[in-house]
């Protein structure tokens, strides 16, 4: 009842006051702790931020380096491609020239083959004709021999008194 009366005039008991003071101290302690943790967290965040900035700077530097490399390589490739294109063009032209020469050789070879075939045919014909001539000569020689024998047989021998 005393507490109700005090509370009604806006007063509190000493006990309540101690309790409140304790609570206040507790709250202040917690506030201090929170402030300390906040400061710590802020410090950590700043460190992290700094780290991230540092990393970012490194990444950007590395990126710039890579971009520079890439550009150099691109330039080199462009140069190499141009050189290769020139070589391909040269080789293509050389190949075209060689094809023309080959066609000319083939035409000449075909003409030669035809000439050889014709010569072979002529040779075969000549051989066959020669074979026939040899047979005919054999026959003529044989006939001459036979006629010679017949003639000798028909002629009188010397000393047989027929002349």
């Amino acid at each position: 009842m005393i507490r109700r009366v005090l509370r009604a005039v806006g007063l509190a008991t000493t006990g309540e006051l101690h309790v409140v003071e304790a609570k206040l101290r507790d709250v202040r302690a917690r506030l201090d702790k929170a402030t300390a943790r906040l400061a710590e967290a802020t410090t950590t965040a700043q460190r992290l931020q700094e780290t991230r900035r540092e990393e970012s700077r490194r990444f950007k530097a590395r990126l710039a380096e890579l971009e520079s490399d890439q550009q150099r390589q691109a330039d080199r490739h462009k140069e190499t491609t141009a050189r290769a294109s020139r070589q391909v063009a040269q080789l293509t032209e050389a190949l075209r020239q060689r094809d023309l020469q080959l066609e000319a050789s083939l035409r000449q070879e075909t003409r030669l083959e035809q000439q050889v075939a014709a010569a072979k045919q002529d040779l075969e014909t000549a051989r066959a004709s020669l074979s026939a001539i040899e047979v005919k000569l054999d026959i003529l020689e044989g006939a001459a021999n036979v006629l010679d024998l017949r003639t000798r047989a028909a002629r009188p021998h010397p000393g047989d008194g027929s002349r």
Partner: protein
């Protein structure tokens, strides 16, 4: 082209045989005892052809028989059964034809001029030109029995030479087919010509034989190569040449081509078979229509015996160069340097 006139021999007007076997020879002691070999072979072949029911006749041409020597036809009548003589027809050719026709005085027997006389007069659907001591093998007999021969096909058969020691008068298949009795390895016949002892077996239908006009009567300087020359002509004329698939048999004897070859290797101009190396592989011929002494005056001297009297009208010209021709189509013909077959 109309079929050439086929002279009718003797009185034989019986049914046409399926096969005429044309042979030539004379009683001159060729190669030892020729008569003994011939009679034994003739009886054996006749017996086997009859056993295989092959209707046949033998046409024997006795070319320029020696004066005083008994004719083969007479010896056959004396020593062989009637069945043999009944199947035999003989043509005896006056010796004057040999003297008038030969172009090589060293050639004592014109085998293929004689065979032409037989081919010209053979009546069979098919004509087999062979030799007096050639024995037909069983595969050939089977083919003849089946009547499997076809027109426009020249049939060839490889020859198996058997040792001379074999008893010719007692022939039997076991001895003939025994590899141990081979005198030398058998040769395989090869296309396109299937050459090799060609004259021992050439079978062809009568019409085709007549179209070819049989063997070469233009080149009369050799016996060797004339048979192979027919094959070249046949192939270039569009006929087919095949191996009939079985052999003929021949018993070795002195004086055969195989045994004479070695004797005359250095001096073939003296050889009684004439030149070996004439161009029979690359040059062919066209006989006159009167080939085979078709115009010779014939005298019948028995039911199955005809004598050809001499007449200059039947003798071909001594020289007929227009009959020397080149083949119209040569199927990979080898060069003439290859040795001839016997």
């Amino acid at each position: 082209m109309p079929l050439a006139h086929i002279p009718v021999m003797g009185q034989d007007s019986g049914p046409r045989p399926y096969l005429s076997v044309v042979l030539t020879g004379r009683n001159d002691g060729y190669g030892g005892d020729f008569v003994k070999r011939f009679l034994a072979t003739l009886q054996f072949n006749h017996g086997e052809l009859s056993a295989h029911a092959v209707s046949h006749e033998f046409v024997l041409v006795e070319w320029a028989p020696l004066p005083g020597a008994p004719l083969l036809a007479d010896l056959i009548e004396e020593r062989c059964p009637t069945s043999v003589t009944a199947a035999l027809r003989t043509v005896v050719v006056d010796p004057a034809y040999h003297e008038a026709m030969t172009l090589n005085p060293l050639l004592r027997f014109h085998e293929y001029l004689a065979k032409n006389v037989g081919v010209r007069r053979a009546r069979g659907e098919y004509i087999l030109v062979s030799n007096c001591d050639v024995i037909l093998g069983r595969h050939i007999l089977a083919q003849l029995e089946r009547r499997s021969l076809e027109p426009r096909v020249v049939y060839r058969a490889p020859r198996r030479d058997l040792v001379a020691a074999l008893d010719i008068e007692h022939l039997h298949w076991e001895a003939l087919e025994d590899q141990a009795n081979l005198a030398r390895p058998g040769k395989q016949l090869r296309p396109p010509y299937f050459r090799g002892s060609t004259g021992d077996f050439i079978a062809l239908d009568q019409m085709s034989f007549h179209r070819l006009r049989a063997f070469n009567e233009i080149y009369r300087l050799a016996r060797v190569g004339v048979d192979a020359n027919l094959l070249v002509l046949a192939l270039s004329s569009g006929l087919t040449i095949v191996d009939i698939g079985g052999p003929v048999y021949h018993i070795d004897h002195e004086g055969s081509f195989q045994t004479l070859k070695a004797k005359y290797v250095a001096g073939e101009s003296d050889a009684q078979h004439g030149h070996e190396r004439w161009n029979f592989n690359s040059v062919v011929y066209r006989n006159r229509p009167q080939w085979g002494l078709s115009d010779a005056p014939e005298e019948s001297r028995g039911p199955r015996r005809t004598y050809l009297h001499f007449s200059w009208d039947a003798v071909p010209p001594l020289v007929d160069l227009s009959g020397v021709i080149l083949p119209s189509r040569v199927e990979s013909a080898p060069s003439s340097s290859m040795s001839a077959d016997a």
